[in-house]
């Protein structure tokens, strides 16, 4: 019976791992205990041992690929054994070649892809097994509840796991196939065999997958609240126009970055990070500026904004945005941010709220600068205004602090000369 090799969970905090290399080739004999592959998490590499003997039938992940824990990376089985079709999972670029012929002759029924299994604590407790066996099960991605233990009182032994070898046993119930028939009208007259459409879930791109993971973590773990201010931008518009005419290309967004940098200096809590049982103080103000791309979102970071002039911020911000758009940006240039600004003003958005990028404390969502009615000296007049909404982590700051911070940002943008001196 074919055994799936999965990306092991090598740390409580590991969610994905990178396959570094295969130590065995497809078709090669594998003996129990052989090193079959090398995987990396953070700055640690682990040599993966085979828990069963057989032949490496298939590799589903190529060296360099980053995949979620629990992803099937390869299959070991008897020589000549047919392999179940590789399913569409969250794995980027799933291998779908050479699987079509498998169905007819497959001796082993093809279980649907078990999703990466996260053992429920309650369920785990109900099963008798030693800590070592529990850990082995976790590494193999086996749900202990589905294992028939052969030890005293049904205790699960290491041999039980090895016998199962992680193949398919994690499927608690046959994965319910989403009804795809409605979208695929059947034209034929004969009652066709049930069609299994493998296209109902598109694999995520790496960027999409990274974004999905970040925002989910943030939304689940960060208590967000948001506060909006309206800022009169007439003076800022004047400054932008004058600087541009003087040959210095500066955007509203550059002014906003500068204003935030100065305000963060006075309200440093919003530049700090929540770190479990404490708050991490960040000495530098590193502001990420979200850049929308057809395939997703990148957030290049303008470093040490507290030391940069408006002109320098503008130049750096432009350089980074260009590198983000051309795909030449480095990992370093998109990491280490302590605060983020997302600006949808150029798309005519009035106002919106963003999701905080962990472990940062806040993100500023900026709308369009537009002519809006304001009341001045008792009369309604038109002025250029902009709405900015700060989403903040309530574990770090409270409403009053955010209001004061936004008040400072507003004061700076309404008196932009303060940012030029």
């Amino acid at each position: 019976m074919a055994t799936e090799i999965t990306m092991p969970k090598l740390s409580d905090t590991m969610t994905e791992g990178r396959l570094i290399s295969w130590k065995k080739g497809v078709g090669e004999q594998v003996n129990r205990g052989d090193i079959i592959a090398e995987v990396e998490t953070d700055k640690a590499n682990m040599e993966l041992e085979a828990f069963t003997s057989g032949v490496l039938l298939e590799t589903r992940v190529t060296p360099g690929e980053l995949v979620p824990v629990g992803t099937v990376i390869g299959i070991v089985g008897a020589a000549g054994e047919a392999v179940a079709a590789a399913p569409v999972a969250v794995v980027p670029e799933p291998a779908v070649t050479e699987t079509a012929a498998a169905a007819e002759t497959a001796p082993a029924p093809a279980p649907e892809e078990p999703p990466p299994v996260h053992l429920s604590v309650a369920g785990e407790e109900a099963v008798k097994a030693s800590p070592a066996v529990r850990r082995l099960a976790r590494e193999l991605g086996i749900d202990l509840q589905t294992v028939q233990g052969t030890g005293p009182d049904g205790r699960v032994l290491q041999e039980d796991l090895e016998r199962l070898g992680g193949a398919g046993v994690t499927v608690a119930e046959p994965a319910a196939q989403p009804a795809v028939a409605e979208t695929a009208p059947v034209a034929g007259t004969e009652p066709a065999a049930p069609r299994t459409e493998l296209h109902d879930a598109l694999p995520l791109s790496r960027m999409r997958s990274a974004i999905a993971q970040n925002v989910s973590t943030s939304w689940r773990t960060t208590p967000h609240f948001s506060v909006t201010v309206e800022i009169v931008m007439d003076a800022a518009a004047e400054v932008v126009r004058e600087l541009r005419e003087g040959g210095t290309p500066v955007s509203y967004n550059d002014l906003i970055v500068k204003a935030c940098a100065m305000a963060l200096f006075r309200f440093p809590q919003l530049n700090n990070s929540f770190a479990g049982d404490g708050i991490r103080m960040n000495a530098d103000v590193n502001i990420g500026v979200a850049v929308g791309l057809p395939e997703g979102l990148l957030i290049p970071v303008v470093r040490e904004c507290q030391r940069l002039s408006l002109r320098e911020i503008a130049a750096e911000s432009r350089r980074l945005a260009e590198r983000a758009r051309t795909g030449s940006i480095s990992q370093q240039e998109i990491s280490g941010g302590t605060f983020t600004i997302s600006n949808l003003g150029m798309y005519g958005v009035d106002e919106f709220a963003s999701i905080i990028l962990p472990p940062q404390a806040a993100i500023l969502a900026v709308g369009a600068v537009a002519d809006r009615p304001v009341v001045r000296d008792g009369s309604v007049v038109a002025a250029k205004t902009m709405r900015a909404t700060l989403s903040a982590d309530h574990r770090i700051v409270d409403g009053l602090y955010v209001a004061q911070f936004l008040g400072e940002v507003k004061r700076l943008l309404e008196n932009p000369v303060l940012m030029l001196v």
């Binding site: 090598l10 740390s11 409580d12 905090t13 590991m14 990178r18 570094i20 290399s21 090193i35 090398e38 990396e40 998490t41 953070d42 700055k43 640690a44 590499n45 682990m46 040599e47 041992e49 360099g64 030693s130 800590p131 070592a132 850990r135 990070s273 770190a275 479990g276 049982d277 991490r280 000495a283 480095s330 990992q331 370093q332 990491s335 280490g336 472990p359």
Partner: protein, 231 residues
């Protein structure tokens, strides 16, 4: 556990010692061992590292089975290769990396240098750059390779690579950060003293019995103390 100071030793020679120790620790023939040493100048790269981070084509680089990208080792840098049985210490690679960071931070602190972690960039850092690099390899849950703490090395060789795969990554040393200039021997002495205690504090050794777990290490310090900053 044992601590063994190998002095100045070639990378390949030290690697052979590590390999032998890993096998012996895995089979229970040898105790866990911390190797402390300096290498003659050598560039090494982790198995997943990119050659593109070697900027000078004249450099030859040794590829080895650790995590991380390219780095430089040489005289004036204290290298620590702990051969540790993580199989008995919680089987958590990230936690082990955080332990190596904690060790380096505390040792730097003893020389008056305030170093810190930077989330997502394993190693330890000061305002002026990277003070210690970390890269680990694990075989049958026994760890090899480890950390490299810049005591007073020539920092110029780092300019010819993207250290740890980061372009323009600044690198610093205790000598640059501290008022006094410590020697590798002085720093090694502090590591030797601190390592076993911190290891048992942060990654307590356990055995499995029918009754559950019990702690087997004599050096065990109160458990649950000083939670490790695990992200």
């Amino acid at each position: 556990m044992d601590v063994s100071n190998l002095g100045l030793i070639d990378f390949h020679a030290a690697y052979a010692i590590q390999e032998r120790l890993v096998a012996q620790v895995a089979s229970g023939e040898a105790p866990e061992t911390l190797l402390l040493l300096e290498h003659p100048p050598v560039y090494t790269i982790g198995s997943g590292g990119s050659e593109a981070n070697v900027l000078d084509p004249a450099i030859s680089v040794v590829r080895t089975n650790r995590g991380g990208d390219v780095t430089w080792h040489g005289p004036g840098q204290l290298v620590g290769y702990p051969v540790i049985d993580l199989g008995r210490r919680g089987r958590d690679l990230h936690r082990y990396l955080r332990f190596l960071e904690e060790l380096s931070i505390r040792v730097a602190g003893e020389f008056g240098v305030a170093a810190r972690r930077v989330p997502g960039k394993t190693g330890i850092w000061t305002d002026r750059g990277k003070l210690a690099s970390i890269g680990v390899g694990v075989r049958r849950w026994v760890a090899m390779h480890g950390f490299a703490l810049n005591v007073a090395p020539d920092l110029e060789p780092f300019a010819r690579i993207n250290p740890c795969g980061m372009a323009g990554c600044p690198v610093t040393s205790l000598a640059r950060e501290a008022d006094a200039e410590p020697t590798v021997a002085e720093v090694a002495a502090r590591v030797e003293c601190l390592f076993p205690h911190l290891l048992n504090e942060l990654l307590p050794c356990e055995t499995e019995t029918e009754g559950g777990r019990h702690v087997c290490c004599r050096l065990q310090v109160a458990r649950g103390k000083a939670p490790l900053d695990v992200r």
